[in-house]
Symmetry: D2
Subunit: 362 residues, 4 copies
């Protein structure tokens, strides 16, 4: 860290700062410039009260040199972290697919999706049981019943379950049903929830907040990692900008930036960023091309009838087509991709197709 002093600062002020730093076991490297004196602070600054330092006489500003996070930093952990959740690897050589409906709506709905995406090689089933909705009058999820269905269907197809938890109160119960806790964009800085997930030891997918910088996202991870829970992956799902043509602006630059800054796996959620099914394909391909470790995509047997996010969900057939293209992109960027079980896929799609005839309950 650099302390930039105000112009024409007296030597007593500089001496005062030197003294407090040395009292904390830090060194002060003083450099007098033409217009400013600056002080380099050398040593472990983790528990330094920077706000107090900023208030000392003569100090103009503090300039950080190192990132504000440590456990997530590639500097201190150069090798990629590869999660191993019941034998499923995330962040390694193989690209990860997670897929499933926005909300769990019924056993049949979930089974249809799981069967078809499993045939595409998907090993992680997503599905919302607790839904944070903009309006209190919208469908809020099947809650406990949804978690139970997720577990039952996932077990049937040999899959893991990922599902969003919106309150620390639900965590202990949910741990009996799910394999990966998803923390959504609205709770990305709900530090109480982050700490609780850290203590739970459950694997976690942490989504970037709508207004969170990449450095803030990485700093938030300390709430989880510092509890000795390193089963953590990050998820880019779009940030809020002035552009209104898409629900959020998917920041795909965040993928290579995160891969430079952190050793944690990076997943992309094109469904929520775009908010519109026709954009999910192009953005999914782009994410794979940009170097993401995986995708989480919403699939519904009959999107027009979905109880939430109807506009952005793919049909099983659309997902199967996209999965083939993602596989081809993975080959270009040197990633392996699980093979589809073509026979099972044909059967699953044949079984799913009639559900498209269902009529929306407007």
């Amino acid at each position: 860290m650099i302390i930039v002093m105000k112009p024409h600062v007296g030597s007593a002020d500089i001496a005062g700062i030197k003294q407090v730093l040395e009292a904390k076991g830090l060194q002060a490297h003083i450099s007098e410039g033409t217009e400013r004196t600056i002080i380099g602070v050398v040593g472990d600054k983790t528990r330094l009260n920077q706000e107090a330092l900023l208030m000392m006489p003569g100090v103009e500003k503090l300039v950080p040199i190192m990132a504000p996070y440590k456990l997530a930093s590639r500097t201190f952990h150069p090798a990629n972290t590869v999660l191993d959740i019941k034998g499923i690897k995330i962040g390694g050589q193989e690209f990860t697919q997670m897929a499933g409906p926005c909300s769990v709506e019924s056993y049949e709905q979930l089974d249809t999706v799981a069967r078809s995406v499993r045939a595409c090689g998907v090993r992680i089933l997503r599905g919302g049981a607790y839904k944070p909705r903009t309006s209190p009058y919208s469908f809020q999820g099947l809650e406990q019943e949804g978690l139970r269905m997720l577990r039952e269907v996932a077990d049937h197809y040999g899959m893991l379950v990922i599902s969003e938890i919106t309150s620390e109160i639900d965590l202990e119960n949910a741990a009996q049903y799910i394999d990966i806790v998803q923390i959504g964009a609205r709770n990305s800085q709900n530090f109480r929830l982050l700490s609780a997930v850290g203590r739970s030891g459950l694997p976690c997918l942490l989504k970037r907040g709508f207004a969170e910088t990449i450095d803030e996202l990485l700093t938030s991870t300390e709430y989880i990692l510092s509890e000795n829970n390193s089963q953590l992956m990050l998820c880019e799902r779009g940030i809020r900008t002035f552009e209104t043509a898409t629900r959020s602006t998917l920041d795909l630059s965040a993928v290579p930036v995160l891969k430079e800054k952190t050793h944690l796996p990076v997943i992309v959620d094109p469904s929520h960023a775009a908010g519109k099914a026709s954009l999910v394909g192009p953005l999914a391909l782009a994410a794979a091309a940009a170097g993401a470790d995986g995708l989480i995509i919403e699939v519904h047997p009959n999107p027009k009838c979905a109880l939430s996010d109807a506009a952005q969900q793919l049909t099983p057939e659309q997902y199967a087509g996209l999965s083939r293209q993602v596989a081809a992109i993975c080959q270009v960027v040197g990633r392996s991709y699980p093979a589809a079980d073509e026979a099972a896929l044909t059967a699953a799609l044949a079984q799913a197709r009639p559900q498209l005839n269902g009529v929306p309950q407007v």
Copy 2:
């Protein structure tokens, strides 16, 4: 709501939509334009599944005509809501001051601040007991002990207590100590917490999220208001933009816009928006001039020693000076302002002044 149909849409699609709308007890006003057919939807759309409607054949987009919130809307409740919390009015003719330290740090600290701001006419004491901090290694608040001190000091000076709650778990306990629950920017869309506060019946100050539009803020209020808790005020505290010279960009246009759209009181927090004490004064005056119903400002006996947000807290003396200027602005815009007790203020400032000699614990 208007349904805009795709170009060259068939009459069967239009008839299909008319049918589902009428089945829900709504009317469809069909208008064939040169390039598009549009359908006006007339009736109560509250529980209409708009996402499903958007997915029907032939539909291009939905255009809302009415705001997405109802209980907070001035359209349905033209008169200002004036909160009455144990006899203290908020949102009425008198301007509201809330002040106190960022974090409760000790009984003495809190008492010094409360004594001096009470003499300036402040009737609501703020202080953080549960602090959502960017880093898990920063001071996280005195928690239960902090709540206890707030109550004791406030009672001593005849003040109300406002304090932030970050988890529904703490709510029942906190209700024994505080008069107004503050929901912070990071939890503005933590709908579980909002619902719990709604059910608790506690008066609430809801801060706008960093990336929340004014319409989204007003929509979130339905989580509280729909629980029959109408003791609600809103707080503008800055939004996230590309500008980095201030911590957030205080959106003062939000004040007159909110006053047009909603009947709820509107408070401004210049301390968190600016992040720097020298900017708090100009922004506080500007907020009062723009028509805010009140201010919430951070005051510390010795800001340079504060355990959190040291850079943005005012001294009791600075607050007293600012309060006089705010009073003058209130007069210009036709608001009353509580008179200061000048003798008590002089005594309080004299008692507070020596604390400025404390040296920061860097």
Copy 3:
């Protein structure tokens, strides 16, 4: 400037940087930290090729210590710059009002506005002759004819003329009619235009761009100031954010921030920021309260008939009422405000009122 080296960098790299710096007459202060070596660069860095420095072996990043602008900086010019344009002072003790229609539409329109605002104490008449419109099919301004009317009317009432110029091609001609060149938000980084205005020696009001940080705005001023044209004032007119309730988000924090960073006068344009007449008053008062040196406000004899920006223009009567309130705010913040000529104002408003009967030409 600080050069932060990569981890584990070799001494040859450090020596190499020391060498190139010294060859440019600069000093290198080397400080070896626990995890990084940093190099303080001391001396005049104005013409240093920073991009090349960043590319040298071992360099991770450059951290600027000083602001990227010099001529506009209060550090090097602590006293406020007070412009003196034909005897009218801007940036001094007296608050500055500029007012007039969005577009010059006719001699009568301009005369009506000028007469009434002059009676409120306004000495600077605004009016658009060249209009940058979003659509090429919208009214583009009266151009040369508009400039001529501005000069004639302003001379009649003893006022200065401010008008926007959108191309360096028009500058020489415009200089015969106008006293202050306005550079609009869309051209804030049209550096060719800025340089040309600098060379012209004409007083200038430079608006902040929609996506320009305060530091970038101040850096842009070097294009004008470095041509020895110091007759420059800045204008905050709103930035682009995710909020859509207002056309732009007026960044009033920019007022005290600019007053700290620069000696140049700071004007606020609430009309364009808000885009809506009912918001202009609150924002104008807020700007004066926040410490702005002046306001530029749009006034039209009959806004509903305006050929551009109809929704945001005030009537002469509304302006007169607002002016009285701004005067009262100025008193609170210690600024003087020119007295209105009440008799002339009454006459002007009486003459203006019948024009409100004009019916919009939709």
Copy 4:
């Protein structure tokens, strides 16, 4: 367009609006809702004065149904526009590569780059002659001499020239040297320049502004297209957001959104968006995967010595590697890609390599 009336509006107001609309040859479809009356406006609204309409008594707001642009809209021109510039097609089946240095610095520099990128299949040579720089003290380009070099080198290798023009003053002269005018992000709403380019008939690449929505970009195109110049392509180059890890946030969602909304070709500039060479590759691949029609990439024989944007330029060798990967991505998304001339490439890279030994002129 829909006119939304205020609550409890009288029938005279509605009749008044009906009358003015019919006087303009438009139809008014009136629909009385439970809480609001709305009026659908049917017919050609191009030259309707919407601002005046908004000001009519009883009107609350106008809700556009159709996009504010027409000539660029895919609705009225469903087939892709394929530019044909001296036989080079842009926007057709074949993916377009444009490459070259940020600034033209010397004949040798330009020749080295052109030779190597031409061997990769590039047919369009980019190079800056007029550089809009943040600081007036930075290198501003070789101007006329740079244009001359571009033409000479491009002719030698059978390439087209694209170069940025920053003022309408330079246009006539530049037309003698360049094939495609580039309008940069800072001038994206410099409507005078846009009109001049429209009238010139020169093919144009129009970059999206830092704070420009997709709809605003498309509306700006009317300034060019309405002059009967349809040789236009658009370029996504990153928008300004709160994220500072990259210079701009590349909005890759804009690619599929633009392909839905407009028939014009869409090019992506990953170099300027990222501002850092290590991010250019991932973003270029992502852009191709997302469906862009082409890329414009900065290449320099020795980036660390570049006079502008040193950090983001690729070496010829890096470009050759990237080009091979882009070709493979194109195959996945069904685009053809020009074959590299491997022998010429090997020779060009061999010749280029020694230039990497040049030492930065800090």
